[in-house]
Symmetry: C2
Subunit: 345 residues, 2 copies
């Protein structure tokens, strides 16, 4: 793999654009010689940011885009009308083979719509899921789907399980990733209509290592590598993870400030605590890939800093080099042909 | 209110039965002179536990029940066949006017089924929701429904919002409780089919103080007093709350043990930290009421200790004295008649 992986970065998206995406791009090319970045957005704004840094000039270029899609805009309309926005221009680079991937911290809706309509789905993929990595006690798990497709059908969830397995195995290096479906009990007969219909399909699928239902309580323990759920539930899990974490850490800090004794203690524990809690910080793992598209689309948090941009860009290297999309297509074809064979019996 | 409130306690349910429910009952009668407890279960087992304590003998009685419903049993069958189980006998006490409420740490399924079939629904209530209090940054919120009715319809959620409001106002003393619906964005057009249909109904309901959508991230911040959601989502929220909390606290402890410096610090912060984190501990607030029944059914955690039993028993006093069930019935009737009037225009 001597070819460079070319990643488009939406320099105008997110709360801290252009400062943080530009810094993340610079850090990425400085850290890894195999990455090339196309910063998409207003050229003057990007140039004046880039001037602050030292980096290999041949591996960062600026692709002009004069418009910006704001977070509040209706996504379908925005993608259709703002042809010269950083998201649309960036995604067209993938469509026309000029980039392998795009990283954007902009409007989630616009990234999802743009991914589907501009980058396009891999043949056979019904719905592309958004799949962030979430921190667990000793590692990470992939939460899939996390907001792309509400009111999904069982066949969608089966595809999510397959795509999630491929991602965890080939991008994250987890052998035979354990796949579980989020449920309100561990027994097979538990759950809502969607889970009850999906469970036997996952159980019967020979291409995944299905370990059964998982209760939300077990997710932070790392009880499965691929956590399959419908997008509404996945979104609630992702956001509650952040919410409970933030509130609890604030409580811990508050508790440490209640007496002179505890304040002194806080000074002593601070460095060690910071290090440990860092491992429970989602931004360490880069953004969420939108899987099943003819190119890699990575959505980072709206409040991403340079570190998350950098990690998201680097994540694109493994994804591209491992030919994840090709593997997804092969798996879906294999699964389809098995279904046809079974039907034929 | 000079009459005693009579609470049946399932002495055989939960991981630590009979020790913890019996101790919780003793603590409750010792703490509050207005409560009378009927301990339901095997008389010899209960008596030998009771002998350990000093308490007003006239306020704890033993009601014999020879059978026990285990957690794994199919609930409908168990309630139908084990007529002499502690849950069935205890619920029959309410049915026959011999108790106002029951507290059980036994099988959730059996408690839900027994509540509906033995205690019975208040006229007009479509589905009785399970509604635990969850800790927030500075207080508690009511999460409703949390596991009783999967695949609910919009009309159910509207009733949950009304019952939850009455509970928070009259049991917890929150004036004009803020009601929000769990969603994956705050805009009115966001959500799955259920939320989109329910939103306008909640908005139009004059009997509740609807504040719109709430993202899961905001729940631990205490952004609403009554958090309305479908049971599958509610169950995921409740369990993830516990799961993230437990994992994060374990991480904090682990972080504090990494160096000599941090170990010394840990000793100093420990007392203050313990006090602060206690306020984020769900067991402080008692069990989850199953609302909308002709009596109060309170489900406590399977791993409840005496403190949770005691708090759940004491919670029954306010509930009964405030005539919550009567208020629920009045509200539902008022809402119904408004609907009829509107239809008539």
């Amino acid at each position: 793999m001597s070819d460079l992986v070319k990643v488009a970065v939406d320099a105008m998206g997110g709360d801290y654009a252009p400062v943080e995406p530009v810094k993340g791009a610079v850090d990425a090319v400085n850290e890894n010689p195999r990455v090339q970045v196309a910063l998409v957005g207003k050229p003057d704004v990007i140039s004046s940011e880039l001037e602050k840094y030292t980096y290999p000039k041949d591996r960062i270029e600026i692709i002009p885009a004069t418009e910006v899609i704001e977070t509040g805009e209706p996504p379908v309309k925005a993608i259709r009308q703002k042809k010269d926005s950083s998201i649309v221009v960036g995604m067209n680079l993938i469509r026309h083979g000029q980039a392998d991937a795009i990283v954007s911290s902009g409007s989630t809706g616009a990234v999802l719509v743009g991914g589907q309509t501009i980058v396009g789905r891999i043949k056979g993929v019904e719905r592309p899921p958004l799949a962030p990595l979430i921190p667990t006690k000793d590692g990470v798990s992939l939460l899939i789907d996390c907001g792309a497709n509400v009111d999904a059908r069982p066949s969608h969830l089966v595809q999510f399980a397959m795509m999630g397995s491929i991602y965890m195995e080939h991008v994250m290096g987890v052998k035979k990733p354990r796949v579980a479906i989020v449920n309100i009990g561990v027994e097979e007969e538990k759950g809502n209509a969607l889970v009850k219909e999906t469970y036997p399909l996952l159980k019967a699928n020979p291409l995944i290592n299905f370990v059964g239902s998982i209760e939300a309580r077990e997710i932070p323990q790392g009880a499965a590598d691929v956590i399959v759920c419908e997008a509404f539930v996945g979104n609630v899990i992702l956001k509650l993870y952040e919410g409970v974490g933030a509130t609890l850490i604030a409580k811990v800090k508050e508790g440490m400030m209640t007496s002179l004794r505890s304040k002194i203690g806080a000074l002593l524990v601070k460095p060690a605590l910071k290090e440990t809690l860092k491992s429970f910080d989602a931004s360490q793992y880069g953004g969420a890939p939108l899987l099943g598209l003819k190119g890699l689309v990575v959505k980072t948090h709206g409040n991403s800093r340079a570190n998350e941009f950098k990690n998201s860009i680097l994540q694109c290297i493994t994804f591209t080099e491992q030919q994840i999309n090709q593997k997804v297509q092969e798996h879906l074809l294999e699964y389809d042909s098995r279904e046809v064979q079974q039907d034929g019996i």
